[in-house]
Amino acid sequence: MILAIIENAFLSLIGSAIPASAVVMLAATGAMLGERVGVLNLGQEGLIGIGAVFSVIAVLSWGVESPWVAMLIGMIAAAVAGLIFALCVVSFRASQVLVGLALALGGIGLSNQLGVNRNGTPIQTLFREINPGGVLDDNDLVSAFLFHDPVVYIAYIGLPVVLWFVLFRTRHGMNMRAVGENPAAADAVGVSVTGWRIFYSVLGAALTGAGGAYMVLSFTPTWSPDIARGRGWVALAVVIFAGWRPGWAVAGALLYGSMISLDTTAQARGWGLPFMGASDLSFFLSMLPYVVTLVAILIPAGAVKLGRRVRSTAAPAALAIPYSREER
């Protein structure tokens, strides 16, 4: 009996955590892509906003009727922002931290400004859940756990598998890692450090933009100011937690997502504790995702320091360091 309750609670938590942090998953994959070639893009928060607002504009103002096309438009907009970022930090070698923060601020500001007349307008062009129907439809929890829209499968299964395969099983991936670890060596064997860095940071920005698009085309589904609500920063934290390994990002994103769904579930059901009323508990729970994320970042570093054997979880050695042939 108690086991069944725990099982139900766990399933419902994870089941709603999956869509809640698909955005984080997409943004973390995008950030990881850039960081693997040595480009730290702190602007994820802004890119989510840009991807989201342009998808909203595509649907509401340009009459786009396919969620895929709307998402593509959001991705292109984020890629353009990512290209400006990449030109500043890769071509001109400006500080990645400063320009990244600038992109975060600028992206939040720009997207909020563009969305100002579209607050709360419901989006009708949505991704549809894939549900074979009839097989398991009498069990709500199992279907909540298994059946989502296609983007969720891409974010949690498709992208990590592809990225893992490319990074660790192909020559191309080895070159990518070389650009992030030792750009001078990559340059010496004829890999264009500048070109690869620009290409993958733009591609990463597009993925993060897809995350923003997913928020408005499935999760919320409406525009509201500050749509990312810290998810971009959480995504950057998830990359650290995952030790720059695509598969582990799934665990990080789900950890964050289950904290979010704990909060929303508690609010919806008016949960309280003997020493804490329902409203106080909900304030407390809304801090929890960020606290848990913070603790999660400390885990890999702490494990290394405390002498546990952990397979390489260190950041790419050349992360956030501009490459210049003159200075190698």
Binding site: L42, G46, L87, C88, S91, F92, R93, A94, S95, V97, L98, V99, L101, A102, L103, A104, L105, G106, G107, I108, G109, L110, N112, Q113, V116, S192, T194, G195, I198, F199, P225, G230, W233, V234, L236, A237, I240, S279, D280, F283, F284, S286, M287, Y290, V291, T293, L294, I297, L298, A301, G302, V304, K305, A315, S324, R325, E326
Partner: protein, 385 residues
């Protein structure tokens, strides 16, 4: 190989000019190019606003006129300068050792929250309450950065994300206090904490500015002295230059990082108390920090690591901020300020890099020199792309 790189170097090649890397970058030149980048960015923003039918230059001029035309305007800008200067000083101190404290907004909020807690619960003479409030705020600010500082110093965990995540926690905590545990139950409409009864004494001749304005000036002077004349200041600069070399020189690098980060939090936290003790701002709500940490960060980025530069830049950004309020009344949303900050910060970052290069005229070189000169050209062009 890269199309963009080759386009850029082709563009450079057809002009008679080329970029040359400077061997040494003077601090003064870097400061000038940063300011140039920021001003250029603002002009760009102005042009964009002009294209959307808003004469930003005229509105901005009106804003500045509103500030410097009247005493109330000057005091309005000064009031906003206090929290911006405090958070900027904290960030600038951490930048001396190349540590990024992005969480000054959170430390500022926690400082103010601790000050409210003391202020509404403590009985006693006003001076004593205010001193305890300041002490509590300083400690709270330092405590709020303790975990990121320990993680950075001893576990080498990147401080950018950890400090930033705590901003969200601090904001939730403040919201909780304003709507929950310290809520002012008499005020039905405005959701904020109860009000602290005491304020700092006013500056002579001022209507609303208190002696709080002197605090950032004193701290800037103290920091300037520490870095000019003391061993610890020198050690911090050494760590900022090259942590490994500093370690070989016998400096306790990790402990210095921890201490400096705690100080940056403490300064931002004290800023929260100073803001709270201004007349009319004695209670907290979710909007208590109008992105002061953000403005402070931009000031510190603009000033590099010069503490007097922070004072100058802080007064400038505070004036901008105040002029921006005038902008808001002209049909621009508050969000546009973020976008403008983003453009300015990019301008600063590009200005910083511009100081490292100079444009020189391509010269015809004859004889043996030609080969070497061409190689050098090609190398600088590649570097520029």
């Amino acid at each position: 190989m890269t199309p963009l790189g080759s386009i850029a170097s082709t563009v450079l090649r057809v002009t008679p000019w080329r970029l040359e890397r400077r061997l040494e970058v003077e601090a003064r030149r870097a400061a000038l190019t940063r300011i140039g980048g920021a001003v250029g960015a603002m002009v760009l923003v102005g042009i964009v606003l002009l294209l959307t039918g808003r004469n930003a230059f005229w509105i901005f001029w009106q804003g500045l006129d509103a500030i410097f035309g009247r005493q109330r305007g000057i005091e309005g800008a000064a009031l906003r300068a206090i929290p911006i200067l405090m958070t900027a000083l904290g960030v600038a101190l951490s930048l001396r050792m190349k540590v990024w404290n992005i969480g000054s907004d959170g430390q500022f909020l926690m400082g103010a929250l601790a000050a409210v807690g003391v202020g509404i619960h403590m009985d006693g003479p006003a001076w004593l309450v205010l001193i305890v409030m300041a002490a509590a705020a300083t400690l709270a600010g330092a405590a709020w950065i303790l975990v990121p500082a320990l993680a950075r110093a001893y576990w080498d965990v990147n401080e950018i994300i950890t400090t930033l995540l705590l901003n969200f926690v601090a904001l939730q905590l403040v919201t909780w206090s304003a709507l929950g545990f310290w809520r002012d139950k008499e005020a039905a409409v405005i959701q904020s904490t109860r009000e602290v009864a005491h304020t700092l004494p006013g500056l002579p001749g001022a209507n609303s500015v208190t002696i709080a304005l002197l605090v950032p000036l004193v701290i800037a002077a103290a920091l300037w002295w520490v870095f000019r004349s003391t061993t610890i200041g020198y050690e911090i600069d050494t760590i900022g230059g090259n942590p490994r070399a500093a370690g070989y020189a016998g400096i306790a690098v990790r402990r210095r990082i921890l201490i400096v980060m705690l100080f940056t939090g403490a300064i931002a936290g004290l800023g929260g108390m100073l803001q709270l003790s201004a007349p009319g701002a004695q209670a907290m709500n979710a909007g208590f920090s109008a992105q002061f940490g953000l403005s402070g960060f931009i000031v510190a980025a603009l000033a590099g690591a010069s503490f007097w530069g922070v004072i100058g830049g802080g007064l400038f950004i505070a004036s901008m901020f105040y002029a921006g309020i005038v902008l808001q009344t002209k049909g621009l949303s508050v969000y546009i300020i973020f976008a403008i900050y983003g453009v300015i910060l990019t301008g600063i970052a590009l200005g910083e890099i511009a100081a490292r290069y100079r444009v020189v005229r391509r010269e015809a070189v004859d004889g043996d020199g030609a080969q070497a000169g061409d190689d050098h050209d090609a190398a600088t062009e590649r570097a520029a792309t």
